[in-house]
């Protein structure tokens, strides 16, 4: 069997498949259906200092091969997370990455400080696709200096793996990946959702109460792959690939494009065991192709030479 483990800033994941923030709850709802011990890790729903109720309904709508959501970072708050969820998560034998959302840099720091002392929190992923209250709601993640500053401030507070999760809604994601790297991040996650919208033509109202929302699912996979390719060529730190991964082949595409690991999001809604099946499928692929270390796939894209047409029907 191929070597599947992956070490990120001292944290060893047993394989390269994590479940993405906001798409697996706090890991405790799916225990009947899927054994988290078979995952590389669980990224929690974004946690903020205080609980957040989230946006009014409707919060989700399906689109062609994708879905829009406007959950609004609904979460139980970091304190209740520590009291109620973390004890369960500690028992799951998989890495737990706490995802943090905030509306000011100080709040990011507060949440991280509270979590940093907790046993069972193995690392952090910082959701910078949040409205910045001081700057009138503009997204932190679309300002390079902001991403730098958040990363630098948080880096001082923790020695655990610090991952910055980038938004794709920018012209050059490579600039943001570089900003995160230069400010001390251990990795970047690429991508969060694309801004999108859908309309009910009979009521002339948006299908989401918030008008626009975040697009995820297989529809965005080509965009996510291009962003991972762009980001991974710009930085030396690992890139974690996210966006529309439904099966092992999709995940392998991300590794070849330059991702060191992947996260599975929307696919969990279709199949709560998707992450596990993907990790297993990647092993099978390695075995069939005599790949000894799955890490050898990372960034192995061949871009020179002639590309010949595949004619598998003949």
């Amino acid at each position: 069997m191929a070597k599947t483990a992956f070490t990120l800033a001292g944290l060893t994941l047993k394989n390269r498949v994590l479940v993405a923030s906001g798409t697996y709850g706090y890991g405790d709802d799916t225990l009947d259906l899927a054994d988290p011990a078979k995952l590389g890790g669980i990224v929690t729903k974004s946690l903020s200092m205080k609980p957040r109720a989230g946006n009014p309904p409707p919060r989700i709508v399906e689109t062609s091969s994708g879905m829009l959501n406007s959950i609004g970072l609904a979460n139980i708050g970091v304190m209740k997370f520590i009291e109620e969820k973390l004890p369960v998560l500690r028992g799951l034998s998989t890495a737990i990455i706490a995802n943090i959302a905030a509306s000011s840099i100080d709040e990011y720091c507060q949440v991280l400080e509270v979590l940093n002392e907790q046993e069972g929190v193995d690392g952090f992923e910082i959701n910078v696709s949040c409205p910045n209250v001081r700057e009138g709601g503009l997204n932190f993640g679309t300002s390079c200096p902001m991403v730098s500053e958040i990363t630098a401030r948080l880096r001082k507070l923790t020695r655990k793996p610090l991952i910055i999760k980038l938004t794709p809604n920018v012209t050059h994601i490579s600039e943001f990946a570089r900003a995160a790297q230069d400010a001390g991040a251990d990795a970047v996650s690429v991508i969060n959702t694309l801004i999108g919208m859908a309309i009910n033509i009979h009521t002339r109202r948006p299908m989401l109460a918030t008008t626009t929302g975040g697009l995820s699912g297989p529809a965005i996979k080509p965009v996510a792959l291009a962003k991972v390719y762009e980001a991974s060529r710009a930085v030396k730190i690992p890139v974690i690939g996210i966006g529309g991964i439904m099966n092992a082949n999709d995940a392998i595409e991300f590794l070849i494009a330059g991702a060191s690991a992947v996260q599975v999001g929307t696919a969990n809604f279709v199949d709560p065991a998707a992450g596990i099946k993907i990790a297993e499928g990647m092993n099978t692929f390695c075995d069939e192709n005599r790949i000894e270390d799955i890490g050898s796939l990372v960034g192995s894209l061949v871009t020179t030479g002639n590309v010949s047409v595949v004619d598998s029907w003949l």
Binding site: L33, A53, N69
Partner: protein, 256 residues
Amino acid sequence: MITQELSPVTGVRQLADTVFVCSVRSPRIASEVKPGQFVNILIEQTTDPLLRRPFSVYRVDGDRIEIIFNVVGRGTALMSHKGPGDTLDILGPLGVPYSFLDESFSTALLVAGGLGVAPMPLSTGFLKSRGKKVVTFLGARTASAVLPHHLENLQVATDDGTMGFRGNVVELLGSVWKSHTYVKPKIFACGPTAMLRGLAAFAVKQDIPCEVSLEGPMACGIGICQGCPVELVGEEKKFALMCKDGPTFDVRKIRF
């Protein structure tokens, strides 16, 4: 316990213009499901439609479950073309059932609008086997849309008066209520949100206990996406999840 079952389709039959019943062999779900719970069905392996589709369980027959559905879009259109030889990937049973084990009532008033009849046959069987009296009020647009199968003590209302009472099902209930003799009644309802709102207002006014089964967009059906909030009464902007804390709710506890 929630299970994921690859369920062979045993048949799909047409009941009305756009209404079909799909039977599948799902032994684990069949043995665990309670009335008011639902299943979440992956209809195709392609990515359009992408998500599962939620459906109430209409009936249980041995190791088979039945779904009654209306063709309203891509997923339900595809499901209407299934037949023996096809397989559906089903998650269930999901959600909180109607609280039929509640000792405080002895007459269940089942109130359904349109395809809100879906959970009622399973409910009827369950209630009768536990010695409860069942009275059913069914509303529909017109006579041909009435789905009267496997129900008990049925009273029908149609919008156009082509069958039973002319008007909506809440008006029918109101008209019957004046002279009712139900012993310890409780309402259990399913139907369009507008109808359920009218019913809730009636139940509160008449001081009848009332549970409704809601429906709305769902992505996961199992509580991991936070996509299906239902506002709770009391606390400001606090939400329950329709899929996990519902779909059945006491009307006094929610704002909908």
